[in-house]
């Protein structure tokens, strides 16, 4: 007998609204129906009424966690239309801010996933390690998030030379802490049992659905826009692309943890390049934007962001198309959730790191009798934590 279990629009562990309706048979999920759009603010249409220079402030607020991604893709789209290059110092500055943002975003996700499984210490530790990154961002750009650093033709502000040693010291400490965290996650048998083999999304499915970012790399689908469509400083630094094979929740977590080390490597190389040169130009003058079209692509923490811009010669864009990576990734849940239990469904939908807020209750609707039972967020987390406890007891029992 198939029952329907709605999750959403305010998902228990994440901060953005989505609505998933699970069709369950006993404890197993048979089908899933996804509704999105709770945060639809009409940003693409709003951008047609702002001038070219005002749009980065608007698109920054598409998402608060990856708030450097959308302005970066937008300015690359306009620069693609114009066919210009930005000065070298600005290229390295952009890469530094972008990679710092990737660090804090991945640590944020790890904390939330740990909280859902029941490891509250992981949540507290990762968010504590995240704070120095935000402090560095505040010291160099002026704000913890929504930095307003990017404009068409370059960057708005320069990093003062005396801040660079502080940034390097923070990176050293973060590398040690991230190492500790990665080893703790990779070696824990309970986390293995909870996440290995759960929510599998394989390579062929990635190709058909257009999955992006860590969701695709965890399945072995080898795409990374920093290497494939390099912009600005990314073809002047060296880094590795992390690939795994299975495409389950464990691999998605491992990809994110290992990418932190690569980001630290990139920031160090960019800082060295800036330290060696004298402070110089950080932007080029941009006049009128002629009619034409451009595509701007950037690898955000969640995947590839694409902006398409069309101009008809006026001082406002004629059409701006924004595609956030979660638009492609959330659709993949319709393949990776069915076949798993209700206790895992929340974890799998969170593993693609959706950039939407969710918090709400779960309703269980018994379609045959019409009876309705409501589970709160605390209940859903309790289901998940109980499963973790069961697994922990089993493992301890088999060890003795």
């Amino acid at each position: 007998m198939v029952k329907k279990v709605p999750i959403g629009p305010f998902h228990p562990i994440l901060e953005e609204p989505e609505f998933f309706e699970l069709h369950v048979d006993g404890e197993r999920v048979v089908d899933i129906d996804i509704t999105i759009g709770w945060s639809h603010r009409g940003i693409e249409l709003l951008s047609e009424r702002k001038t070219w220079d005002q749009v980065p402030f608007l698109v920054e607020r598409v998402c608060g966690i990856c708030s450097c991604s959308h302005p970066y893709a937008y300015v690359k789209a306009v620069e693609d239309l114009l066919g210009i290059e930005v000065p070298l110092r600005a290229q390295f500055l952009r890469a530094i801010v972008a990679e710092l943002e990737r660090l804090h975003s991945h640590l944020l996700w790890t904390g939330l996933a740990g909280h859902f499984i029941g490891y509250n210490t992981v949540f507290m530790w990762t968010w504590k390690y995240r704070e120095p990154v935000l402090d560095v961002l505040e010291a160099t750009t002026g704000n913890r998030n929504h930095y307003a650093m990017l404009k068409v033709g370059g960057v708005r502000r320069d990093i003062p030379q005396e801040e660079i040693p502080n940034v390097l010291k923070m990176l050293d400490e973060l590398e040690r802490n991230n190492d500790l965290l990665t080893k703790a996650i990779l070696d824990d048998p309970v986390i293995h049992a909870r996440t290995v083999g759960v929510g599998i999304f394989d390579k062929e499915q990635c190709r058909l659905y257009g999955a992006l970012g860590p969701t695709a790399r965890a399945a072995g689908y080898d795409i990374d826009s920093r290497r494939d469509h390099p912009i600005d400083a990314y073809d002047k630094v060296e880094f590795n692309v992390i690939l795994r094979e299975n495409g389950d929740v464990f691999d998605k977590a491992v990809v994110r943890q290992l990418e932190n080390f690569e980001s630290i490597k990139i920031i160090r190389q960019c800082l060295k390049a800036i330290e060696d040169t004298e402070p110089g130009d950080i932007a080029v003058e941009v006049g009128e934007i002629p009619p034409g079209e451009g595509i701007g692509v950037y690898e955000a923490p969640r995947g590839e962001v694409l902006h398409y811009i069309r101009s008809n010669g006026k001082n406002m864009p004629m059409r701006l198309k924004i595609r956030a990576p979660s638009f492609n990734n959330i659709l993949t849940n319709e393949v990776s959730v069915p076949g798993n239990t209700v206790a895992d469904a929340g974890l799998i939908t969170a593993a693609v790191d959706p950039c939407y807020s969710c918090t709400e209750r779960v309703g269980v609707l018994d379609t045959s009798s019409g009876e309705r039972r409501v589970l709160t967020e605390a209940d859903l987390i309790r289901l998940s934590v109980e499963k973790t406890e069961r697994i922990r007891k089993e493992l301890e029992g088999t060890e003795r």
Partner: protein, 137 residues
């Protein structure tokens, strides 16, 4: 001061709802729980159900999709409840004012006790806002 009021002041329970925001204010609210700011030492706890809450934190410009649910949440909240709006979007709709899917700032539908502006407001500001509201009880 009565016993209920004293107990309320000592450990307020907070429920947080997002009405279509970009998420930044919500992350800063969750940040208050973490060891650097640590509001749990004041007894402030984030709860998962509106029925246990003493303080309601709202962020985001209200979109049309979310409006009926927001109203239902407010009706289900046990009164008296204090409502605090966090972020520029909740106070005045911010940069999204002319959108066709935005139906207005939060105080058009719900009586609000305190506004914490900023984009996003820092965690220290949010804690200060909550403490100011509670000290007026």
């Amino acid at each position: 001061m009565s016993i209920t009021l004293k107990a309320l002041k000592k450990s307020p329970w907070v429920f947080h709802v997002n009405t279509g925001a970009c998420n930044n204010c919500d992350i800063e609210i969750l940040d208050c729980l973490t060891p650097k700011f640590d509001i749990e030492r004041f007894g402030i706890v984030l709860v998962g159900s509106i029925r246990h809450a003493d303080v309601l934190l709202i962020s985001g410009p209200v979109t049309k999709n979310v409006l009926p649910r927001l109203k239902r949440l407010y009706e289900q909240a046990p009164k008296p409840i204090k409502v605090i709006v966090v972020g520029a979007c909740g106070c005045t709709c911010g940069i999204f004012r002319d959108g066709y899917n935005i139906v207005g700032p939060v105080d058009k539908y719900i009586p609000v006790d305190a506004y914490v502006p900023g984009c996003p407001p820092k965690p220290e500001t949010i804690i200060s806002g909550v403490v100011k509201v509670l000290s007026k009880l």
